[in-house]
């Protein structure tokens, strides 16, 4: 326990340092923007002001678009979080069985088509996949609706399905997960002690699951967060989902740098926070001797 705590403290400290660095970079980029009125002559002062604003989560009003950033960003962040979380869930649910199947039967080479299929779907550019899905679902039925704010609650829940599905299946996540799980699992399964265990007739499931699946899975889930945010931008655009990605894109069109900086900041928190959580989880999972 103490070990985990020490790890945690180190992580948090490093993360804070990192965030300071990121915000320094962002504030520097901000300054580069032609046409921004520099409120402070001294960059350091401006940086400290930015830091204060960001860390107190009081982002103020964007001088470019007149939006109250807090009001707009937090609900958007929540929506993107839901999307990302759901997508990860879908990716895991789909890729774990395929990965296990692929590793387990890799000695016979049959599973390969299945892996290939998951690769293909994953690699379809997510903007096309999204549009295809919308086309199929609006053309031939209206059972599953596209997102809109005034749907009755039950229907609105259904509207969540499609974007989550697309972000989870597309965006390369599944192929990556499958590949990692399959590689790790087959590596573990061919390790001596597992083989020996099996020979003795013991259940290989527990140890192989932990080592072969959970660890790489946890690692890769949290490392994929930056990619998911990137993919969310496109998925949210296609599905008109009111999340941070769509907001980021609109801000780009509006040349609204303040909002983008805030979004970047929140994303970094999301990413780094994920890393810390990952290390905590791994700390619990990985057996002591490793």
């Amino acid at each position: 326990m103490l070990r985990i705590l020490r790890l945690l403290v180190k992580e948090v400290f490093y993360t804070v340092l990192l965030i300071l660095g990121v915000t320094a970079l962002l504030s520097f980029l901000f300054r580069l923007m032609p046409g921004t009125i520099s409120f402070e002559k001294n960059w350091l002062n401006e940086y400290l002001k930015l830091l204060q604003r960001l860390f107190t989560f009081n982002f103020g009003v964007s001088p470019v678009s007149g939006l109250n950033i807090n009001q707009v960003v937090f609900p958007a962040f929540k929506n993107t979080f839901i999307l990302t979380f759901g997508a990860i869930l879908i990716s895991v649910i789909i890729s774990v069985p395929i990965g296990i199947f692929s590793a387990y039967r890799s000695f016979r080479g049959i599973s390969w088509p299945l892996t290939m299929f998951s690769y293909i779907v994953s690699s379809i550019p997510v903007f096309f996949l999204g549009y295809l899905v919308i086309y199929l679902f609006t053309r031939y039925s209206n059972f599953i609706p596209i997102y809109s704010a005034t749907l009755e609650n039950k229907r609105q829940l259904l509207a969540y399905i499609l974007p989550i599905l697309v972000l989870g299946l597309g965006n390369d996540s599944v192929s990556e997960f499958v590949r990692i799980i399959s590689d790790e699992l087959s590596r573990v399964m061919s390790m001596d002690y597992v083989v020996a265990s099996k020979a003795r007739g013991e259940s290989v499931i527990r140890s192989s699951i932990v080592e072969g699946i959970l660890i790489p899975l946890v690692t890769i889930i949290f490392s994929r967060i930056p990619f998911l945010i990137g993919g969310a931008i496109i998925v949210e655009y296609v599905f008109n989902w009111p999340g941070m990605g769509r907001l980021a894109f609109q801000s780009t069109l509006n040349r609204d740098l303040p909002v983008l900086v805030v979004i970047a900041f929140l994303s970094v928190l999301f990413v780094r926070g994920g890393m810390i959580i990952k290390d905590i989880i791994l700390g619990f999972i990985i057996p002591q001797e490793m």
Partner: protein, 531 residues
């Protein structure tokens, strides 16, 4: 026995009469879909059609035109035009209340101060709008008492009453502001408050749906439909599909290629309406090459308008030869649109001296190349706009002119075109009001940052004619003047006039008594009802 029959007969008649008297029911929700989002929900500042339609629902004006063309009173109950036609007195309707502010139960009363304030802001040179030129004929406005105001005009104007259809803003929300530029931190930008048939309820974010509800105390009678929701769509293709499966019950403008599909569906009605607008390519005459008339004329000959209209818009529209919608009294039918003739274009360019060619085949004369920057706003980007522009580029390439397309986001585009004037050609449309007053487009005094004569077109004869048209009281004379204007503006080619489109709205047949106003769409909304 007879008595009973009589009773039954009376009863049935009574029922039929009562049903006949009140066919409309109250209730229901109109959900309409637009391609894009409104830019600003405040009159005076708004100049895009989506905003204008919403403003029509929320705000009121002194008078309005009903669909027979008669002037009716909205916020004004009666009025009096003096004998010399230079003074107009409006008697405002009493008991009209503004929509209540969020958190308040009742709205404030509408009084003369609101009209005065609106007018002053509108005419303030610092306000970011170009509609001032329409009202320059008004010299001053005076408050006589809370419900009586008087406008003094510089000179008598034909059909002057119709000009007072500008929307009125609430003065109590604009205390301390003499002009508006759109970036102020005002509640009215986020929560519009008007005197119209519908009240603003909510909008979650800048691109979210807008929910309106019926104004129970609307002074012209409570509208039948309870609630209106405006759904913005980022993708044009989905709107028709959403209509068909019931996600919305009205589509403001059905893309030409979907028309056949909707027409075949018995659940929906297709209503054509002409929006009194025309599309054009506009030239910046500050560019010395574009200042040469033959160059502009050549461009007009080089493009095949019929082909574009037929292929991109399914032929649903009409090619025009001047800056007026055909079928209006201002259009001069004797001026024919230019035919498609690349040969003529080539001849004109040769005669203008652009006989040398660069390595890529672009014409030049000395150091002047026929290469132009064309600026297009991204928010107007839909497939037909893109196709028109790309086709334009291709037609011109065939005669040796190179067009560089620059896509800009809407605000940046407006800034670059109307303020900085850093462009060569644009593709846009103008939306008219009923008076067809084109002086803001072509008069030389409308040249300048923020004004509509973005191309710096100057012709003293046109100026004189425009001035005369504004002041003449004789309708026939006016028509003559406009016909002459049409001829000159066709000859001078400050724009290449393209076409005016017939738009089709589609709606579920359950919505009844739908009459669509050609520019503002929802003017007659209070008569619509849902079965």
């Amino acid at each position: 026995m007879k008595k009973r029959f009589l009773m039954l007969f009376l009863l049935i008649t009574f029922m039929m009469v009562s049903v006949g008297l009140y066919p409309q029911q109250n209730g229901g929700t109109l959900i309409y879909g637009e391609y894009g989002s409104p830019i600003r929900l405040v009159p005076i500042l708004a100049n895009d059609s989506i905003s204008i339609r919403l403003i029509e629902l929320i705000y009121g004006s002194l008078v309005y035109y009903d669909h027979d063309g008669n002037v009716k009173g909205d916020l004004a109950e009666k009025w009096n035009v003096s004998k010399n036609m230079k003074t107009i007195t409006f008697y405002l309707r009493k008991g009209v209340r503004w929509h209540p502010l969020p958190g308040e139960k009742e709205g404030r009363p509408f009084i003369a101060d609101d009209v005065i304030k609106t007018f002053n802001i509108m005419m303030n040179p610092n306000t970011l709008t170009s509609i001032q030129s329409r009202y320059n004929f008004i010299d001053s406005v005076e408050k006589i008492d809370d419900y009586k105001i008087q406008f003094k005009l510089r000179k008598p104007i034909l059909n002057v009453l119709g000009r007072f259809s500008f929307k009125i803003l609430p003065s109590f929300m604009l205390k301390g502001y003499d002009y508006l530029r759109g970036d102020e931190n005002l509640l009215i930008y986020k929560h519009p408050v008007g005197t119209g048939p519908y009240m603003f309820v909510s909008q979650e974010g800048p691109n979210a749906e807008i929910i309106l509800k019926a104004n129970e105390n609307y002074h012209l009678g409570r509208p039948h439909i309870d609630k209106i929701i405006m759904k913005p769509f980022a993708d044009q293709n989905i709107i028709t599909q959403t209509l068909l499966y019931g996600g919305i019950n009205m589509e403001i403008r059905v893309p030409p290629r979907d028309i056949a599909e909707v027409q075949g569906d018995m659940r929906f009605e297709l209503a054509p309406y002409s929006t009194l607008s025309f599309s054009f390519f506009g030239y910046n005459l500050r560019n010395p090459v574009l200042a040469i008339r033959n160059v502009r004329l050549a461009i007009s000959y080089a493009i095949n308008r019929k082909e574009m209209l037929d292929s991109f818009f399914e032929g649903k529209g009409q090619i025009i030869s001047g800056p007026f919608p055909p079928g209006s009294w201002a259009y001069n039918l004797d001026v024919k649109p230019l035919p498609y003739s690349p040969e003529e274009a080539n001849r004109l360019l040769d005669s203008a001296g652009f006989t040398e060619r660069t390595r890529d085949g672009i014409r030049k004369r000395g150091s002047y190349k026929l290469e132009f920057d064309m600026l297009v706003p991204i928010s107007k980007e839909n497939e037909t706009t893109k196709r028109v522009i790309l086709a334009f580029q291709s037609y011109l390439r065939a005669v040796g002119i190179k067009i560089n397309i620059k896509w800009l986001e809407w605000k940046a585009w407006t800034q670059t075109v109307f303020v900085d004037h850093k462009f060569d050609i644009i593709y846009a449309d103008w939306l008219f009001d009923d008076s067809f007053d084109i002086s803001s487009l072509f008069h030389s005094k409308e040249i300048g940052p923020g004004k509509n004569n973005f191309g710096a077109y100057r012709n003293p004869e046109v100026d004189a004619l425009l001035d005369e048209a504004q002041t003449t009281l004789d309708m026939e004379k006016r028509k003559t003047i406009y016909k002459r204007l049409h001829k000159i503006l066709a000859y001078d080619v400050p724009y290449t006039y393209l076409w005016t489109l017939t738009n089709y709205a589609a709606y579920n047949r359950k919505i009844r008594h739908v009459i669509i106003h050609p520019t503002r769409f929802f003017t007659y909304i209070k008569d619509w009802y849902i079965q």
